[in-house]
Symmetry: C2
Subunit: 354 residues, 2 copies
């Protein structure tokens, strides 16, 4: 953690009220202490210099490209202020890991920039750092450096993530070709339904969800499951891929636009969890929420038909389900058709901030 990180405390040989604290000059400021206590344990890469310098220095693996992306979460925009701090940290890291996974990249490390209001409870940062540490270890993605600031209002957490791929092999949005198959990992729409559950107390009753189903949807909103385990399989088999952050309909449309193709998806083929199936059965309009809500953090990929089984086999071996949901066409447009063959007209195809 570099700048704005301290009160130097030892410029003056004469004690003054400001120096008459229990902390000795050699220890640095409260923020130095905070970084050393909470964040240094995450900085296991030698090039992070234990967060005691202004920058990290890393030697990229020979023959590899670095894959870089950045994404953040802001309170009241991407998470709710009452969400547990450890899940806020994990979500901030995982949404970036999701991008790396869709691009076929193996995590290398990350930079963290946090803006924290003064009003946070004392143990918020402790919980935040604990969650972040668990995920940094789980995904082998150490902290390389960062920036800690006071924020005048919202909690802001930005991550810049670095991954690696063999030179030239990043999986692009561009690359899908007509005749290929469209696949999705995991299940779609759970997070969007989880958010509905949080905002509409009556929904769980309306959808007749038991406690386990409610927990499933809520946890999918709180905690994305990045598909890091299949990054290499995607690199070997997929012609194009994108992580689903703004809704499967919108993100597939983006992939199609980048590739200059279209797609035809049968809604009945889109993989839904038992909880999501029950919600749609009770309230059919929820299919739009499922297909256009954000925060899935699954991967959509396109695959030549002959490569589908290879991708599926490797994904299953890695613990990730792969479902064929449609075909790539000459386009344009990504169309989601119901059982009668009618393409759905969405009110809002995907989440947008603007």
């Amino acid at each position: 953690m570099a700048k704005h990180d301290d009160e130097a405390a030892n410029s003056a040989p004469v004690p003054t009220p400001a120096r008459a604290s229990a902390r000795s000059p050699a220890e640095g400021s409260a923020e130095d202490h905070l970084i050393a206590t909470y964040f240094r344990p995450l900085a296991t890469h030698p090039g992070a210099f234990d967060l005691t310098d202004d920058a990290a220095a890393i030697a990229p693996p020979p023959g590899c490209d670095l894959v870089l992306n950045t994404d953040g979460v802001i309170s009241n925009v991407h998470f709710l202020p009452e969400d547990p701090a450890d899940t806020v940290a994990r979500k901030a890291l995982r949404i970036n890991l999701s991008d790396l996974a869709a691009k076929g990249a193996v995590p290398l490390g990350f930079l963290l920039s946090i803006g924290l209001p003064a009003s946070l409870p004392a143990d918020w940062l402790k919980s935040f750092a604990r969650g972040l540490r668990e995920d940094a270890e789980r995904y082998r993605c150490p902290l390389l450096g960062g920036d800690t600031d006071r924020s005048p209002g919202a909690i802001t957490v930005y991550v810049a993530a670095l991954g690696t791929v063999p030179h030239g092999s990043m999986v692009r949005r561009k690359g899908a070709q007509a005749g290929e198959v469209v696949v999705a990992t995991g299940t779609v729409g759970d997070a969007a339904l989880g958010l509905v559950l949080r905002q509409d107390a009556a929904a769980a009753g309306r959808w007749k969800l038991d406690a386990a189903m409610q927990d499933h949807l809520l946890s999918r909103y709180l905690l994305p499951q990045p598909r890091t385990a299949i990054a290499q399989a995607l690199r070997r088999h997929a012609s194009a891929a994108i992580d689903v952050s703004d809704g499967v309909a919108g993100d597939l449309a983006k992939l199609c636009r980048a590739s200059g193709v279209g797609a035809e998806v049968a809604i009945s083929d889109v993989p839904l969890s038992p909880a999501a199936r029950q919600a749609v059965a009770a309230e059919p309009a929820m299919i739009e929420t499922i297909l256009t809500g954000g925060d899935d953090f699954e991967v959509i990929a396109t695959v030549a038909p002959g490569w589908l089984e290879g991708l599926r086999r490797e994904a299953v071996a890695a613990g990730v389900t792969i479902t064929r949901i449609g075909e790539v066409t000459s386009g344009p447009g990504a169309h989601f058709r119901d059982a009668a063959g009618r393409a759905l007209a969405f009110r809002r195809p995907s989440y947008s901030h603007f």
Copy 2:
């Protein structure tokens, strides 16, 4: 620019009110348009893929380490809401370039994460992007990717910057040795005095500053001058370095702490601009603001005595002045002594957020 970046707009074959805009599906959303218009011109690195993918892919120069740091600016914390948008953008990039320069690194590119309140004037982002583009060109530091969000309150601008150094040659905070010389680039304290001028309308009169002097101090607060031009000279000659973001007293203390040494600085040797000299002459207490205020974005480095002239010669050739301000001692502590040899006791040795 990757996620949260759009409204996909072409999932539905049937026109709906949401689609009945002038924008065709192929163009994507308002945010896609915004990114293409304002930010794509900055993304001149081929690995940025014209900001049309979820991540950048760059092949680091062989034999080099990547130097990484991140730092941001938040309205009402690091800049004032009425500051011109182009200077906000430039400041956000330059404070990161300043870190790279102090570490001896040549800029490679940067990631940008911005959170913008809905209330911003329409031309704010246009001006922001123009300033950022000018500096991306000036410092040869192209935009590699980013994230654009709505912010519920403050304007937040985070940059993650990447630079390169030959393997193993990043200039560290650690490395200063007793007997070496302490040097500073440029002049110290101007930005802190510029901030006083903005907050205290009577200060300019009290300090008897003419218009040019006022402009000098104000512009030094608005627009840091990163010492990118001497990055390579620092790598060749300096034993340790740090960029001065939180005040020369505090940042020198940090360098000393990391190196396990001390420093003795004669306040009369600290390089001041004519405007700063005049402020101190009129109001001697301003010396504390000068030595402990933030936002200098100069570099302090330590140099073996035999290397000082080489560093100075290369710096001058690059247009940067280098001033010897003191010596490295066995420590501990960085002491700033007045003409009578008394070490100043600072109320607050450096800027701290916590």
